[in-house]
Symmetry: C2
Subunit: 411 residues, 2 copies
């Protein structure tokens, strides 16, 4: 691996990834703990979300207020979120301060105080966020689309379930923390102005004796169905579409990605020009590749007025089928340039790189270099894309509608 990248898995199962970036003062960290919505207890959807808040309310030698003040005093731009596979803690700052914060992140995941009043507040906020979705029909649509398309528990709403959150207790949360906050399967990625040996020593000191923990088995069940209408009184209709695709590790991955760029990349993408520009049907439309571990999907969205909703859905689906007829050399060239440009641009952002190497390792078990990605994009041929599209028609579709009226599915 070139001098830019570093990868090491400690005996307890924690993997450290690092990327040394030229010309930056800052560093960014992405810390993915093996506690995503898919491993929430079956009857406690939202437990990971409550935990991701609760562990920050005091840890190690610092109480809630002192901990928060301390991390802010380092100038960290912080974030935390829960996805299907992981709970993710992120921060970025001047490189030295990100390294200084590492022992405190060890406190957070290994020695959280989890106070009773903090639990009540964290659960209350999780319930409020969930209630807030009712005012965000676009977000609501994408949540419902994942629930209806992906096999359970991979389609779960990462924000949790109202009834189950209401039943959650602090004892259950503590048990769940013990089960899922552990070294095995966790990934700590750093990118920026850093030095590998020093980073490794620091991480080893803070996380080297973190308990490995037991493996978690997931029971998979089929998704609920292929069409769902969520009645909502509004002038607008929101349409979500999904269908199965390749996993990200498949050899045809970039062939597929470039085909999707032709469909919906840049301003000259087909969906944008056909559905939005030429027909003036919608104010927002896109489709793209979406991936979970070993599971790929094409998902799409269109927001439109009620009277244009059926025409928008029909045109959207027609554009998906038209991909089978192939793309042009010009379209492919633009798609390649666009995808390579965003690769180069992301190579200049410490936050983007920390996230990318963490994602790479989780999906592939290794970091890909930027050059490898560029070469993979360049290696795709027009014949390759068109043969692929002919062999892989879109569908079967899952369609979710949020709006006042049901729509007719094509075919």
């Amino acid at each position: 691996m070139p001098d830019r990248y570093y990868q090491h898995t400690f005996p307890n199962g924690l993997t450290l990834l690092a990327e040394k970036m030229p010309g930056v003062q800052s560093a960014a960290m992405t810390f993915m703990v093996d506690a995503g919505a898919s491993t929430d207890p079956v009857d406690r959807g939202g437990s990971a979300t409550v935990l991701s808040d609760l562990v920050l309310r005091g840890a190690g030698e610092r109480d809630n207020r002192t901990l928060t003040a301390y991390l802010d005093s380092l100038g960290l731009q912080r974030s935390s979120s829960v996805g299907i596979h992981h709970t993710r803690f992120g921060c970025a700052a001047v490189a030295e301060n990100v390294l200084t914060a590492l022992p405190t992140y060890a406190d957070i995941v290994r020695r959280p105080h989890m106070p009773e009043d903090g639990f009540e507040a964290a659960r209350e906020l999780a319930l409020q966020s969930l209630a807030g979705i009712d005012d965000e029909p676009r977000q609501k649509l994408m949540i419902k689309l994942r629930e209806w398309f992906f096999p359970s528990p991979f389609g779960r709403n990462t924000m949790g379930d109202k009834d189950q959150l209401e039943k959650l207790t602090i004892e259950a949360s503590k048990t769940d923390w013990k089960r899922r906050y552990r070294a095995r399967g966790s990934i700590l990625a750093l990118a920026g102005n850093i030095e590998f040996q020093r980073v490794k020593d620091l991480v080893e000191k803070s996380f080297g004796d973190w308990e490995a923990g037991a493996e978690i088995k997931i029971q998979q069940t089929p998704p609920p169905g292929n069409y769902r209408h969520e009645p909502q009184q509004s002038e607008q209709t929101h349409i979500g579409i999904a269908y199965p695709s390749l996993p990200e590790t498949h050899e045809d991955y970039y062939t597929l990605r470039l085909a999707m760029e032709v469909l919906s990349g840049g301003m000259s993408g087909r969906l944008f020009t056909e559905v939005r520009e030429k027909r003036g049907l919608v104010y927002n439309v896109w489709a793209g590749y979406s991936s979970l571990k070993n599971l790929g999907a094409i998902t799409g969205y269109a927001g439109t007025s009620n009277e244009r909703a059926q025409a928008t859905l029909d045109t959207f689906i027609a554009e998906l089928y038209r991909l089978q007829d192939g793309v042009t050399a010009d379209e492919l060239q633009r798609a390649k340039t666009g995808l390579k440009a965003s690769t180069i641009m992301s190579g200049e952002s410490t936050g983007a790189r920390a996230g990318a190497i963490a994602h790479d390792y989780f999906m592939r078990g290794r970091i890909r270099t930027l050059d490898e990605i560029k070469a993979a994009i360049d290696g795709v041929t027009l014949e390759g894309v068109n043969a692929f599209l002919k062999k892989n028609p879109p569908g079967p579709f899952t369609v979710v509608i949020v709006g006042p009226k049901e729509l007719k599915l094509p075919g």
Copy 2:
């Protein structure tokens, strides 16, 4: 000015700004044309928005489709938006390709085709975006808050007015383009891997003979009022607060900014800890400085359940008043570290820097260096902040509520 920055105003009134950034391959452009919502014709609110779409539908020697395909073939990540003061066209890519695109951006603003069918589609999309706000109560709230707080036309909805958009004609749009798309007051800013002399030559060649145009006078009228309730059936109430503050050029600007950081910066900000963490009242709350030319404001937002709405508003206002009692040395230190950290981080992003130097020039008539900003932050003292806060109590408040029930204003 250090070797990193460059500023030049051409005889026709166009100002070129540039920042050479070490260690990056990319460049970003922010091109601000003097056509914002505040100079929309009084009876044609939304004209700038329609124009910002229309001018991209073919320009110079390229028709609509060819133009879009050409810009995508350069791998440009593009954006365009309309603000109160300007229409903004942005792009970022490998530096060479951003420079290659400059003559085409000259075509777009100087030689747009503005086809009849393109006008109809652009207007239709503007109307649809406007209708879409009904499904986004948070966005709706912030639009109403600006309308009610700022003197007209500075509080105008940049998306336009439904009735006026419906009456807009292509002839009126062409006349408006001629009036507002001109060199005077326009700002073209580039940041990244660039060389000043070459950039200047390129811009001179494409924009040097752009017509200066006449000055545009704005008639200012007072804002409509201080309390407004927008009834909306929902489980959630959205609260917006605004009150007058210093313009960005005021010598106390960083004193004010740091005080606002104490109130709402980082995770240890008072609003976040008091309103969100301790009382569990809301799922989203913030307040911050917001600036127009010569006009500063503090604006804030809280989203909460209906039954908590009155308590949230009361606590929010109480926290604003509590600032008068001063901040602590620790709070100020954290605020300084946080603000400096984000300054340093933005110094590594070409897009952020292109936007920042354009903004600086518009507000101050010159670029500030990153070191100057850091020094200004460091120069603020605890005594200075606390004297300032004592002398400048919050208010008078404008409050806008989107939700089912009216709320009682404090005091």
